[in-house]
Symmetry: C2
Subunit: 214 residues, 2 copies
């Protein structure tokens, strides 16, 4: 038994419990957003679900926007992870780019409330904090790296690795997510009226930046 508390310097039990509660709040928040839309999050509703009074939530998050901020950060991390994991399983170059991007899109379609938070500006008073935005830059950098990799492998024209190329790819990704979430929500990635065209979208990008004549 003594072994169970071996690695804890100060305030371990409390810290753990606190982290668990925060996680529960975010989990419920995401559920409510799924039902009401990203902008429809209500602290009162979260509290009701948890069986506590609304002001008690302020022990964990300093405001409603702080909850949004935490969700934004979580979403960015998950999106970035999806990109990475998708790309890892594929050969370097274009396959890695396409696998990563596809995995990212799949994640977005499967997590509508978080994706709305990342891709849209659905909450009036809320803009992500600098810390929460950091993973967003990481995701952007990751995509840039994948594009650069495809160019390096000779799979895409070098222009793909310019601002134009990266921004164009961003437009394509945002387009798939936006159309799918706004006009055909609740459908799985593979069947989604828009997300199912992900391969066609990638093909368009490829055709726009064909590899230099070998």
């Amino acid at each position: 038994m003594a072994s169970t508390h071996a690695a804890a310097p100060g305030g371990d039990r409390r810290r753990q419990r606190r982290a668990a509660t925060k996680a529960e709040i975010l989990r419920i928040a995401a559920e409510l957003m799924a039902a009401e839309g990203a902008g429809g999050l209500s602290l009162s509703a979260i509290a009701r679900r948890m069986g506590i009074q609304p002001p008690s939530l302020y022990k964990y998050f300093s405001s409603r926007n702080a909850v949004y901020d935490a969700l934004f950060a979580e979403g960015q991390r998950a999106f970035s992870a999806a990109l990475r994991e998708g790309a890892e399983g594929a050969p370097p170059g274009l396959p890695a780019l396409e696998a990563g991007v596809t995995a990212g899109l799949r994640w977005a379609v499967e997590h509508p409330p978080l994706a709305q938070l990342l891709f849209w500006r659905p909450v009036p008073g809320f803009t992500p904090s600098a810390e929460s935005y950091a993973p967003a830059l990481e995701a952007v950098g990751r995509i840039a790296d994948l594009v650069a990799g495809a160019v390096h492998e000779g799979h895409l024209h070098p222009d793909a690795a310019t601002d134009e190329g990266r921004e164009l790819l961003g437009v394509l990704l945002a387009g798939v997510v936006t159309q799918q979430l706004a006009n055909d929500p609740g459908t799985a990635f593979a069947e989604g009226r828009f997300s199912r065209h992900t391969p066609a979208v990638l093909r368009a990008f490829r055709l726009h930046y064909p590899p230099p004549a070998a």
Copy 2:
């Protein structure tokens, strides 16, 4: 003088005044949305601006969502008109398609709050009514016609006029609007970090559906 009321059967003056007030409400609503984001519309704020009490607004709109609905309808009509007017000035076929689409995108970027209402789902409890949605279908049909025209002129592969082609084009348009409004708002269409790539986006679509070898 008699001529001024000639063509009015019943309640003309009142009807006119009422219409003007409704229009003023919508105009102010759009202004407020521009400042706060589409989801941040407040009837109280509208009333304050007009110098009346909030409940008085209910004489003109039955609810906050009814205001959104009217704005949605107005936006769809304006977007559809932009498409039409853009296409009219260009030769039929691909030029008309690209001119129409470009004009539509320009309109969207220049009218952020209405565009958000059309392309995203930024308001929790609101879904457009059937009547307000009708012009949306008209806009979709208009784009479909333009695509069909370009195919008919031999400027695009017939596959462009399939569901995939139309949906792909929708993805591209939504992508430009989404990225521009979410990540570089307030910049003009020509300079927008994403909207300036509209020609590249259209080129990608063209390359994806090259005309049959003549």
